[in-house]
């Protein structure tokens, strides 16, 4: 039996990297005495799959992992017992039973929504709303990505599905988070700052992932994004 767990990661826990978060959950599942299924072999490990890795420094209310179980009483029980072994800043939001044929969390990810806000005060941008609209109305938004081996020119525009500002003064965006076309919100924001002619260093604002989505659209259809938790 497979379950999908939605969890939040915030506060000081944003400094815990992806691999360490996985390690944390491996131990948490043992502390909660969840009847997890183990792989075969000399050093058996729990069968689990995380959706989209979250960068260090980013908070999230839409993280997902799938685990395989041998047995369980109910999703509510599991949520409760897991929450009892969490630390402040990690919280189980929901547990859903997955249909047997469901794709795993990692393979399902298509998009993610984010909120960006200044840690202190508001973005130093006049007419934020209008500027964002103008930014998004550009034909293309080229971003130069430098890796150790190469320099790639990306057009972010195709991967930005929505971007706007909220009444609370934050910036929100829905972007591609699939393994092939993942876009980091900081890349988009960097381009926006250039466009708006302001300089906002990364430590000054906080990025929060709000939700992770899968795409139910068939080949050639318009995107139909639904939260990963709603599959099944």
């Amino acid at each position: 039996m497979k379950v999908r767990i939605r969890f939040a990661k915030y506060g000081v826990m944003k400094f815990i990297g992806h691999l360490d978060t996985m390690r944390f959950f491996q131990k948490a599942l043992r502390r909660a005495e969840i009847d997890v299924k183990y792989s075969e072999g000399f050093s058996p490990h729990q069968i689990m799959s995380f959706a989209a890795p979250l960068g260090v420094g980013i908070e999230s209310f839409g993280e997902y992992m799938d685990i395989e179980l041998c047995s369980m009483t109910s999703p509510e029980d599991m949520k409760r017992s897991l929450n009892q072994v969490m630390v402040e800043g990690l919280e189980i939001l929901s547990v859903t039973i997955l249909p047997d044929h469901a794709k795993n969390a990692m393979a399902s990810v298509a998009a993610a929504s984010y909120r960006l806000h200044m840690k202190e005060g508001a973005f130093p941008v006049e007419d934020l709303c209008g500027k964002i609209r103008a930014f998004y109305e550009q034909e293309a938004i080229f971003y130069t990505k430098e890796t150790k081996k190469s320099v790639i020119e990306l057009d972010l525009k195709q991967g930005i599905y929505e971007i706007n500002s909220d009444t609370d003064g934050s910036v929100r965006m829905l972007v591609n988070a699939s393994s092939s076309g993942n876009i980091k919100p900081s890349m988009v924001f960097e381009k926006f700052c250039q466009f708006a002619g302001v300089e906002i260093p990364a430590p000054a604002y906080q990025v929060v992932r709000l939700e992770t989505y899968t795409d139910l659209a068939g080949e050639g259809e318009a995107h139909r994004f639904v939260p990963l938790a709603e599959v099944g």
């Binding site: 400094f15 990297g17 260090v56």
Partner: protein, 626 residues
């Protein structure tokens, strides 16, 4: 949630921010308004090392059991953060409250190895606490030292307000009670130290003075007050079953050196190898109750979620209920998908059988620590492992599928000759040959056996029979390593043997610090001021800076290392009593030079003096007489 001591900006800059944020599972948060004593417990090395130390977990859990005490953890900030904290004058903080160490009542530092001495100064300076005890004002925490290095505290005495000599379980409560009483009476720091000096096991260095002869040796000691003890006897938990154990050890987010549950099965060691300090300091052997250990194991696995458990003791094979405990753990861990990491056991068919059950034979290696290359020298050091034992064990292991063997030796032991050194190569070769004999050609995996032979340099330590022994110079050490290498290269099976040796510079320095006196303090301070820190990390060890510091302070290294001490020389640590008597150690030193072995505590009591504690092996009915 707590405000962190470090800004997001800093945390995003440093390597592994998880070292500094606290919040781990089982870390203890208290209401500071309701705690009378704030205690910062420090391991002066990086988080991953410090978090792996059992002693801190034991004390952390014990102190936090007390309602009026809040004990937090502190580790050495790594070099990246160290630079930032200095630049921005950020005070070092406790991981739990994220509040400055400087504002707490106590800073307790566990001192596990000499090469952390400069890190003690780092922790003090980053905490914005004066380095020297004499410069600390009323509002500064009381700085306490504990751990094995306090058995010669003199080189670092100037940096500490007091030392706790021995096992931590016994005197912290009386110490805190006196602290609270003194505070409520409006007493001063000096008043507190005066009273503390009379608590068993507590040593307040500033109340004593070291006196010297013209030749530089120690003439004696003078104390400032009549009512404080001349000799301080170590503290010991006589009933190890009754003392608290950390059932909920803190579980780090990042991978640390010991990422597992540690089960302490006994304290002390029966063996009395003459170079070994731990073997003397923790006498007598006290075994823990096997049923209690089983309960602890299950509960700690549940409380931590760790996927591995390991046994801790100086010599696990000597634990009388080992088979029973391992059987239990194998059954229990199999159910829980938990691994058992075995301590180095004496290799025989029984232990191989157990190891085969819990390890991947093809991947794991076997360890032997003969320590010396010849039987003669093994008798000198009283290492009761014979060549036959090793070859028999290795043969069994090879037949069982193992193909990797690690061997540990020491170079520069007292009375060592060229022949002893060449014996290291011989023995390594014989083990390789045993493989080819034990495993027929068609059964050899890759056709190979891998012997890894490592040597460290012998460093005489206080409270061992070799505390009188001269230590080699760096050049002598390197010559010996060279000869070892030649010896190995000339062997028939040399291709199967890989040889590693330890650095010589750092061993010489460790030798000075281990048997140093109060005159060494200024050298340590100078080296630190020149930038020495993390000396146990080879990439940060700057021998040149240390040598300059010795020169500038006018301290002669040879006086502390290569000099052979007279039988009646007064040692800097003579005012401490670890249980074993000086007569016993001297007797052993003489027997060593005659090449006579001494039986272990189980076989026959050697009258070392530790029976005065009235516990452990000295009184076991199937053990020795008292």
């Amino acid at each position: 949630m707590n405000q962190l001591a470090l800004s997001d900006e800093i945390l995003m800059q440093v390597e592994k921010p998880a070292r500094y944020i606290g919040n781990e599972v089982n870390s203890v948060i208290k209401d500071k308004a309701k705690t009378a004593v704030r205690f910062a417990m420090c391991f002066p090395d990086v988080y991953e090392i410090g978090m792996s130390h059992l002693g801190i977990q034991i004390l952390y859990s014990m102190l936090n059991e007390w309602e009026d005490v809040w004990c937090e953890r502190v580790y050495s900030p790594w070099v990246d953060l160290d630079a930032i904290m200095r630049r921005e004058s950020i005070p070092l903080f406790g991981l739990e409250s994220q509040e400055p160490v400087r504002d707490m009542d106590f800073l307790g530092i566990t001192i596990q190895y000499e090469m952390c001495y400069t890190n003690i100064l780092q922790v003090l300076e980053l905490s914005q606490i004066p380095l020297l005890s004499e410069d600390r004002g009323e509002d500064m925490p009381i700085v306490i030292g504990g751990g094995p290095c306090t058995y010669n505290p003199e080189p670092i005495a100037a940096f500490f307000d007091l030392f706790y000599i021995g096992e931590g379980e016994t005197q912290y409560r009386p110490l805190f009670d006196w602290y609270l009483e003194n505070r409520s009476q409006g007493g001063t720091r000096q008043d507190f130290l005066r009273g503390a000096a009379k608590i068993p096991g507590i040593y307040v260095p500033q109340f004593y003075e070291e006196l010297y002869n013209e030749d530089g040796t120690i003439r004696g000691r003078r104390k400032r007050y009549d009512d404080i003890p001349d000799v301080i006897l170590k503290e010991i938990a006589t009933d190890v079953t009754a003392i608290p154990y950390p059932m909920k050890p803190v579980v780090p987010f990042i991978k640390v050196t010991q990422d597992r549950v540690t089960l302490e099965i006994q304290r002390g060691c029966i063996r009395g190898c003459r170079f070994c300090q731990a073997g003397q300091l923790y006498r007598p052997v006290r075994e823990r109750d096997v049923d209690q250990l089983k309960e602890y194991a299950v509960e700690m696995l549940k409380n931590t979620g760790h996927e591995e458990i390991s046994l801790s003791s100086l010599s696990s094979s000597d634990y009388s209920r080992l088979d029973e405990l391992l059987d239990f753990l194998i059954a229990e861990c199999g159910q829980r998908h938990t691994n058992i990491s075995l301590p180095s056991l004496r290799i025989d068919s029984v232990s191989l059988d157990v190891m085969g059950k819990v390890q991947d034979v093809k991947k794991s290696s076997l360890t032997f620590a003969p320590e010396a290359g010849s039987q003669r020298l093994r008798d000198v050091i009283n290492k009761g492992l014979t060549e036959d034992d090793i070859l028999r064990g290795a043969t069994l292991a090879f037949q069982g599928g193992w193909t990797r063997v690690k061997l540990y030796f020491m170079l520069g032991l007292p009375t060592e000759t060229e022949e002893d050194i060449l014996g290291i190569g011989d023995l390594s070769n014989k083990i390789a040959a045993a493989f080819f004999e034990a495993v027929p050609k068609d059964k050899r995996v890759n056709g190979k056996v891998q012997i890894v032979t490592s040597t460290s340099f012998f460093i005489p330590k206080p409270f061992t029979p070799f505390q009188w022994a001269p230590m080699c110079t760096k050049e002598e050490f390197l010559d010996k390593a060279h000869l070892t290498k030649q010896g190995i290269m000339s062997q028939l099976n040399q291709k199967s043997i890989k040889y590693n040796w330890h650095e010589a510079d750092v061993s010489v320095l460790e030798g000075v610090l281990a048997r140093g006196d109060r005159r060494i303090a200024k050298v340590i301070k100078k080296a630190y001021e020149k930038g020495c820190m993390f000396d146990s990390w080879s990439e940060y060890f700057h021998n040149d800076l240390w040598l300059d510091s010795f020169k500038e302070c006018g301290v002669d290294i040879g006086f502390y290392t290569t000099r052979e001490r007279a039988d009646d020389e007064i040692f800097p640590w003579d005012f401490l009593d670890c249980g074993v008597t000086r007569e016993f150690l001297l007797r052993e030193w003489k027997k060593a030079r005659e090449g006579t072995v001494s039986p272990n505590c189980k076989a026959q009591c050697q009258g070392c003096g530790a029976n005065r504690f009235g516990c452990g092996i000295c009184y076991d009915k199937d053990g020795a007489r008292g």
